[in-house]
Symmetry: C2
Subunit: 271 residues, 2 copies
């Protein structure tokens, strides 16, 4: 683990990341020894810092540290946490933030075998996402809703839990974004009020559009989810997972437009 550039496992307990969840993070796939989609992750990290109101650490410094932390690993997961830093008293940030950066590279987790080809099973979580446009789309350190939602199942056959917002709109999985296939086009939830606007989600949208597939970003009801011809999940580590079952709703893989999905995947991206 690299903490502000130093090999170190422990952080000042007054850090606002711990005290208030006052920070953002990225989870980045390491493929062939390099952090995948680096510029996109950096862009979102900067956007998060900007919206929280503190300076993002320098991009070339972060890349240097990322490579140092990845070291000789060929594959893995690199997590980068950036907080507003230590000290200050009370919620109001001091005028001069000294952000902390924590980089940690670990082994790629084991995922269900061949999930990308055979599809995964999901449930609908009862934990909802609160709506707050000030935080919507950001990957902040305030993740208790996801923690509670991920606690809702322990069945190993279930690979993800889908979450709605407090008004009942489908938003995302606990650790993934969700797309519906509808008449060969894609629909994905609007994340203005909550949810994490994933890097892989953005890439899938761009690639779909560039291939002439229409992508609609809009509020989605559970009824629309149920009626979808196909559903798939995305995140930077898993890539794309088709969904074959949500609760007792089944989705046939042939309806998933699997060729489309595979076509819009990042070339060379392992999943």
């Amino acid at each position: 683990m690299l903490l502000n550039g130093v090999n170190e496992e422990r952080i000042d307990a007054t850090d606002r990341g711990l005290q208030y969840g006052d920070g953002v993070f990225e989870t980045i796939a390491v493929v062939n020894g390099e952090p995948c989609l680096w510029q996109r992750h950096l862009k979102r990290l900067r956007l998060g810092c900007e919206r929280l109101g503190f300076a993002c650490p320098d991009g070339s410094l972060l890349l240097h540290e990322a490579r140092s932390e990845i070291a000789s690993r060929l594959t893995g997961v690199l997590k980068i946490v950036v907080t507003r830093g230590a000290g200050g008293r009370g919620y109001r940030p001091g005028s001069h933030a000294d952000p902390s950066r924590i980089l940690n590279c670990s082994a790629r987790p084991e995922y269900p075998k061949d999930a990308a080809h055979e599809g995964v099973r999901a449930i609908l979580c009862s934990t909802r996402l609160g709506r707050n446009p000030a935080l919507g789309g950001l990957k902040t350190l305030n993740r208790l809703e996801q923690v509670l939602a991920a606690s809702e199942w322990s069945d190993e056959d279930i690979d993800e839990g889908l979450m709605c917002d407090s008004e009942g709109h489908l938003i995302e999985g606990t650790r993934s974004n969700v797309f519906l296939v509808r008449q060969g086009n894609l629909v994905t939830p609007d994340l203005s009020n909550c949810g994490v606007a994933g890097v892989m989600r953005e890439l899938v949208i761009e690639r779909a559009v560039s291939r002439g597939v229409r992508v609609s970003v809009q509020p989605i009801s559970l009824e629309e989810l149920r009626a979808a011809e196909g559903v798939f999940l995305t995140n930077s580590i898993i890539g794309i997972w088709p969904v074959v079952r949500i609760q007792n709703w089944e989705y046939e893989l042939k309806h998933q437009n699997v060729d489309l999905i595979r076509d819009i995947m990042v070339r060379g991206f392992e999943f």
Copy 2:
């Protein structure tokens, strides 16, 4: 600072308190060398841990450590953070949590002189609170909404910012609960969906009721706030602060039922 019973300033950076805000905290007034309202704070800490699904550290251990951290201070602020602990991967908590406890006693902050007698000024923050019944009332480490709200003003004449939920109901101050005085009785926001159910709020409700004052816990609109005869704020450190101004709405102290307020204060509690 006492970290799991040891004098230590640094915490494992994999702690879920930092990674996800997966924990709760208490901010406790120290008066005459003792943590004030200890049993009430402990009760809320336990409730928070229970609702997040991990075991709260033993109460007598926490009290022992609290006194050790307070040491010879007569007054101050004791903050206790309890997280689900280090390690685990991903949002889902492991089956065996090993919670972290962080106790830190610091000097009492400087508050506006004689705020309890002369009243304070507040603004309405534009940052809203997301609604989530799973977290409503708890004092969790997910505090970005308060951080953003507290960043909205820097005028030193403003002592607090009031926050509404995403539907526009008045909920609380960034670091206080709010009460309206209406025809000699009290009205305070329902916190089922968001907000922190403060220890001082609970105490004020109990004391008011025991003195024959009716207290209504209900949704409150900004129009009702504006029309209130008086408004006051509570938290465990400040006690009670009457409000004399919110934006350009003025509240006269004589309407505040100041005698009532002072009567329901904890005897011997400094504010």
